[in-house]
Amino acid sequence: MTGPEGPVEAAFFDGMTARRWAARIAPAPDGLSLVILREGAAPLSWRFDRLRALADESDATRLTLTVLAETEDEAPRDPARLVVTDPAAVAWLLRTRPGLMRRDLRAGTFRKVALWLGGAVAAVVMMLYVILPGLADYLAEHLPRETEVAFGRSVMRQVEWIVSDESGADLACTDAEGLAALDAMKARLVGERDLGYEIELRVFDHEMVNAFAAPGGQVVIFRGLIDEAESAEEVAAVLGHEIGHVVARDPIRLTLRAVGSAGILSLILGDVTGGTVIAAAGEHVLQTSYTREAETAADAFAYRLLNEAGISSEPMAGFFDRIAKMTDLLPEYLSSHPLSAGRAEAARVNAAAQTATAPVLNAAEWQALRGICKD
């Protein structure tokens, strides 16, 4: 359309009807605009500096043109389209009109994106860290005790069923003298205190160095923890810690929190490559941030029980020192518990303030407890 051949054929759609118009196009004499001529319609003139082409079209030999216009459409474009297929014209347009592929963001787009992004992040963070935990705590407070106990029993059944699947045998240890020693320890710790729950205490025959509390007063200590402990006081401190969870209703509270936030992170990541792994990791960090404060509170409760019962917390410090090698591999924000090094320090500080202490079990009882799983 630049050369001596004169105007070039093109197809035109006016954006008002689906009719395909045969058009001829040529630059205006002043060179500032493109003139579109049709039979039976007035000539149109599109200014070159407002001329735009569609991007990512599959056919490189044609060019679909439109014009920059303030419309309410998804992009600021006039609905009319001009399809140029003449090779010389396509080449000329691409060569001499560098602005053809411009994006033309509306004014205020960046502000809008920043606002929406900030709002969305704030809403999700608010949901995960304020609303869901608050609601979970509220519901946990208002759950009838009988329901919590029934749920705890159901959870314990599931745990037994899953764990015993591997070993095939009943896990609970039943040595009579060992159970008596365990009872003595519980009585010494709890005393006359009303905890609001019947503590159902059991030892599972498993090598894991761990203990846990299920909702409604179910407390389990694994044999591995008793083997690892060097004195009865260490086991008593752990027991006090788990009772602290029971009294604070932590198991049901944390279950409700986990249920509420499940799946929200994977929602955000969607179908990103490797998104599932990132979502799982994120969920882990979220859960552990929920639990660390609960752990610290349970530690404090354990010290109260120990102090009132006159049991030394000094051995506990040694216990934390020993397991620190295993537990402190991860930084604290990735871990469900506070770092063992810090907990050892807290146990030592508490012990320094303790006055008169007496052993929680006598030597014979401690030996019986160590043999609770010998049957």
């Binding site: 197809a11 006016d14 954006g15 008002m16 009807t17 689906a18 009719r19 395909r20 569609l54 991007a55 990512d56 079209e57 599959s58 056919d59 679909t64 419309t71 459409d73 998804e74 992009a75 474009r77 009319a80 389209r81 399809v83 963001l105 787009t109 994106v113 929406w116 992004l117 709002g119 969305a120 809403a123 999700v124 949901m127 995960l128 869901l132 609601l135 979970a136 519901l139 759950l143 329901t147 029934a150 749920f151 029993r153 159901s154 059944r157 599931q158 069923w161 409700l256 249920v259 509420g260 929200i264 929602l267 955000i268 990541l269 969607g270 179908d271 990103v272 490559t273 490797g274 998104g275």
Partner: protein, 401 residues
């Protein structure tokens, strides 16, 4: 009106350009931690839409990555609130029905009851599906004229749930009824410009499309009867029973594609644009199955070759480490990066060798009757598109394209 005039569509997209576009945008998606995926999908759609031609004119996709991104943000907030509250409250009330389980079956049942909150998502998924279709139509133009769809997503949701339950209760026998009425609901609310699509026909006419399923069912019954009646030893019976699932999977897989293809044929032939423009679709089950099987083989071969190379690099670096050279975090990072790149390539290859050929086949077997009547269609108003498919993206319903 003359349905003797007809125009068959064609598809002009190429493998190389689409692979280049898909792979480049997938890499950008990786580099931006997933944020670019809205722009990536938009650009790929622009390419594919512009490859679909009818009488020399192509479709145009006018969606933008930005509006998809913003729609996604809205959807995430709504879903986070909904999911969080619904899951929590359902679980809380579920707790009141917990009793101590006595048998393994009861334990399993109680564990699974707590996953029921998944069903709370079903209405949202259906909602998202309708809205995604509405968005796609609202962002598709032909000869400068917009397609569009009415705002009627909730009506679709309860209908789809009702039909789904009926189909389930009838053991699948009412599937044609579900397919027909849901397609009619969507079609009757779709427009090209100011002109409405109309879905004609009747649902019972879809039963011939169920042939593959019936064949699979007959085969299942026949094999069970054969195994039960024959005087095979128990060892032989087990051998036969082991092959049975595989055979059934193949037959029902064929039945699935056959139903999709032939219900599409019937429903398309019964559609008109306000009675003036008709359609004819003749896709073939064999061709579609062939594309999937050959495509999967080709993609599998290429990807296993690439992963083989990565494995080789890994083996070499391990060997180097054993020889005393420092193993270094560097080589691990390189391997992880290669792994992600290979995954991105897998997506691009699947698009080029499976999805695009299927779209091309459906396009090239599509004929428009009386296309001259299209000239009378007038423009329709812009549809803001609401969440721009955000719900479908967040719920992972979005297909590759």
């Amino acid at each position: 009106m003359s349905f003797n005039d007809r125009l068959t569509a064609s598809y002009s997209g190429g493998r190389g350009p689409l692979f280049g576009l898909a792979f480049r945008t997938a890499l950008l998606t990786l580099l931006t931690l997933g944020i670019y995926r809205f722009w990536a999908k938009t650009r790929i759609r622009k390419y594919i839409w512009s490859s679909i031609r009818l009488g020399g004119d192509t479709l145009e996709y006018t969606g933008t990555g930005l509006e998809k991104f913003l729609g996604f943000l809205v959807a995430v907030v709504v879903l986070a609130v909904y999911l969080g509250l619904v899951q929590l409250v359902l679980f809380y009330f579920g707790l009141h029905f917990v009793v101590e389980p006595q048998t393994e079956a009861e334990i399993l049942m109680q564990m699974s009851v707590f996953y029921l909150s998944f069903f709370a998502l079903v209405p949202l998924m259906l909602f998202a599906r309708y809205r995604a279709r509405r968005y796609m139509l609202a962002r598709t133009r032909f000869r400068g004229i917009r397609f569009g769809m009415d705002k009627a997503a909730w009506g679709y949701v309860w209908r789809a749930i009702g039909h789904g339950i009926l189909t389930f209760l009838s053991l699948g026998l009412l599937l044609p009824r579900q397919t027909f009425w849901l397609e009619k609901y969507k079609t009757d609310r779709s427009h090209y410009g100011d002109t409405r699509f109309v879905q004609g026909g009747k649902w019972t006419a879809l039963y011939p499309a169920m042939r593959g399923y019936f064949l699979g069912f007959a085969l299942l019954v026949a094999s069970i009867v054969y195994i039960a009646m024959s005087r095979l030893g128990s060892a032989d019976r087990i051998a036969v029973a082991q092959f049975l699932p595989l055979g059934l999977l193949a037959v029902f897989g064929f039945g699935f594609v056959y139903y999709r293809v032939h219900s599409f044929r019937y429903l398309t032939a019964q559609k008109t644009l306000a009675g003036a423009v008709g359609f004819l679709a003749l896709p073939r089950t064999g061709r579609v199955l062939g594309i999937y099987i050959v495509g999967a083989l080709v993609v599998g071969l290429i990807v296993s070759f690439i992963f083989g190379v990565i494995g080789g690099v890994f083996a070499v670096s391990v060997a180097a480490a054993e020889n005393g050279a420092t193993p270094g975090a560097g080589s691990i990072v390189i391997i992880a990066a290669l792994y992600l790149v290979a995954l991105a390539m897998l997506g691009a290859l699947a698009l080029v060798f499976i999805i695009q050929p299927v779209i091309a086949h459906f396009t090239e077997t599509m004929t428009v009757l009386n296309p001259a009547a299209l000239d009378a269609v007038r423009q329709r108003a812009h549809d803001a598109g609401a969440d721009a498919e955000g719900f479908a993206d967040a719920l992972d319903l979005g297909a590759a394209v």
